[in-house]
């Protein structure tokens, strides 16, 4: 997929429906993310933000509509799913590092097995990205020996080592202590400035202001409003958005 870069948006979502049993989690979502675009998705809990980005790499299976990632449709075809997961990195709220592998092994395992990179090359890449997230000295430690902020930065490095074209962030700072949030956001801002396509579910409105091209507000499984951050924060017309913003920014 690396060699053929089809034109068109990085992610196109058309009429997406998702049910959990009888609960309608996502209702007819339409969203298009351009290459190099940074999207921030926010909204109250239970609004379907996480479900939406988890559909993009098929951690959740959608029930209706179409998702096209980098020109490949996400359907039951296992080859398509594998191909898309190779190109889409994901960072989780709870880091989800492999606790039985060192930081370096966490970063090397997927490139070596999925991308079939030789060990030396995988290690060079891993060390480069660990340097980028500013923890090269922790390479030989185990995840359990690091702080939350450090673990999350390793998780970002691990995803980047696959050299993905799109990065998904699912509330990456929600499980962190306040002083660790900044170190993770710094890494994300750097990544954004380098042109990575990013879809971030986050409540960090400061990050949205600094890095996002577009902010999307979701509620009740629907996209209520989307706008560039400046417009979104200052002149939202929607009642629900304004209420949410007053709660998030209000103190």
């Amino acid at each position: 997929m690396n060699s053929t870069l089809p034109s068109g948006p990085a992610v196109r979502i058309e009429g997406l429906d998702k049910y959990y049993g009888s609960f309608h989690a996502l209702r007819k979502i339409n969203l298009s993310v351009e290459r190099g675009e940074k999207i921030v998705i926010c909204g109250p809990s239970g609004s379907g933000k996480s479900t939406l980005i988890r559909c993009v790499n098929r951690l959740e299976q959608h029930n209706g509509g179409r998702i096209t990632v980098l020109g490949t449709e996400l359907n039951d075809d296992v080859g398509n799913i594998d191909g898309i997961r190779r190109e889409v990195g994901m960072v989780f709220q709870h880091f989800n590092l492999f606790p039985h592998m060192t930081v370096l092994e966490n970063c090397m395992i997927a490139p070596m097995i999925v991308r079939k990179r030789p060990r030396a090359e995988a290690e060079t890449t891993a060390r480069r990205f660990l340097e980028k997230v500013r923890i090269p000295e922790q390479a030989m430690k185990f995840p359990g020996q690091l702080s939350g902020g450090q673990q999350q930065r390793v998780a970002i490095a691990r995803a980047l080592c696959m050299q993905p074209q799109i990065m998904l962030f699912d509330e990456p700072t929600s499980a962190l202590d306040p002083e660790m949030i900044a170190e993770v956001l710094d890494v994300m801002v750097t990544l954004a400035s380098e042109g990575m396509t990013m879809i971030c579910v986050t409540h960090e409105m400061g990050f949205a202001r600094r890095a996002a091209d577009r902010v999307i507000f979701m509620d009740g499984g629907e996209i209520v409003e989307q706008a560039p951050p400046e417009e979104f924060f200052t002149s939202s017309r929607n009642e629900r958005t304004r209420q949410f913003l007053s709660q998030v920014l209000g103190h």
Partner: protein, 387 residues
């Protein structure tokens, strides 16, 4: 004086002295009563009997045995038999438990139902009933004349007959060790961090290791081969009975099957718990990196589940090792039965029971020590784990 008694340290010390003193007194009283009673019955205590010949036979032994052999040799035979039965039972129980446990965690409804039914049935019937059941089944197999045959193995009511190589005892043991190494080496090579290749890409080295160990086994067998005999001794019907090969008596098979099936139902629950303990997050992370379902299983799910299982598994293994003493119920000459026969024939009850207890302590403490070592080696490091 009164104030001294109110001192906490003095009180604690006094209690300790009282406790140790009364314990020592009880032990002393027991020993003296036992000595007097033994003397009254004209039994000489001591371990001299170990060097007298037994005068009776055992029905199954991996070591050469005659009625002229001394008691200590019979004890050794008993321990070897117990270890043979125990390790066979443990390995089979682990295989059964893994399959059933995986079935119970599978997404397939039928597999889950079958697994659950299995556990419900076999975990809730006493082991000794299961031993008797399998013993009855096995002794009702066809007579030697109508024995089932497959790959040179004969199965009849008199037992299971398997071909054995015509080699000396030492060479046979050495070859067995080499064979175990052929299985263990690839596993070890797959995990050790000293190799340059990453875990999961060491197939070449693993295969080389296994091949080398197998070659060793073949060489040892060729060197230790007894002259003028075929390499393999196949069992065959001669007259009314089967001759040749190694006979595994129905008593052993019944016990091994019962321990495998009963123990398997407990191990299945341990396996299920282990897999349930693996965080969904780690698996999702592995999936999102593009790893195939098989790789997610072998690289993330299984290693993490194993760490959750091992401590409980060690417990279960010790338990099943002790279950080999059921041998006496169907007449398999395990360590316990040898000790029971010794008591009948020599009257050295206390000594024999002492040896029995020491033997089982040694077996199970070593088992526990090995597992503790493994546990320690693979324990997850750090305490900041989440998810």
């Amino acid at each position: 004086m009164v104030s001294l008694l109110r001192n906490q340290k003095v009180r604690n010390a006094l209690l300790q002295v009282l406790y140790v003193g009364s314990l020592a007194g009880m032990v002393l009283a027991c020993v003296m009563i036992a000595r007097r009673n033994l003397a009254e019955q004209g039994i000489t205590s001591g371990f001299d009997f170990l060097f007298k010949s037994t005068g009776w036979d055992v029905n199954f032994s991996l070591l050469p045995a005659t009625a002229n052999d001394p008691y200590w040799w019979y004890f050794l035979i008993g321990i070897v038999n117990t270890l043979f039965l125990g390790s066979t039972g443990l390995i089979l129980a682990t295989i059964v438990g893994t399959i059933v446990g995986l079935a119970r965690t599978s997404s397939n409804e039928l597999a889950r139902l079958l697994g659950r039914t299995y556990v419900d049935i076999f975990r809730n019937i006493p082991l000794i009933l299961q031993v008797f059941f399998w013993y009855a089944v096995i002794t009702h197999l066809p007579t030697p004349r109508a024995a089932h045959e497959a790959f040179g193995i004969l199965l009849s009511s008199r037992g299971l007959y398997v071909p054995i190589p015509n080699v000396g005892g030492v060479a046979f043991a050495a070859a067995a060790i080499a064979l175990i190494a052929a299985i263990a080496l690839p596993v070890w090579l797959g995990r050790t961090s000293r190799l340059n290749q990453p875990v999961g890409e060491r197939l070449g080295i693993q295969l080389t290791g296994a091949a080398a160990a197998l070659a060793c086994a073949v060489v040892i067998l060729a060197v230790g081969r007894l002259p003028d005999l075929a390499l393999l001794d196949f069992p065959a019907l001669q007259g009314l009975n089967i001759k040749g090969g190694l006979r595994i008596p129905p008593e052993f098979s019944a016990l091994a099957v019962a321990i495998a099936i009963y123990g398997g139902s407990y191990i299945a629950e341990i396996v299920r718990g282990g897999f349930k303990a693996v965080g969904k997050g780690q698996m999702e992370a592995a999936q999102s990196l593009g790893l195939s379902p098989w790789r997610v299983f072998t690289l993330v799910r299984l290693p993490l589940a194993l760490r959750a299982m091992l401590p409980i598994l060690a417990n279960q293994y010790v338990w099943l090792m002790k279950a080999t003493t059921m041998g006496i119920a169907v007449g398999f000459t395990d360590f316990f039965m040898i000790v029971a026969l010794t008591i009948n024939h020599s009257g050295q009850t206390l000594e024999a029971i002492g040896i029995l207890m020491a033997g089982f302590l040694a077996i199970n403490l070593s088992l526990a020590a090995v597992f503790n070592r493994i546990n320690k080696a693979i324990a997850l490091k750090g305490n900041q784990l989440r998810g």
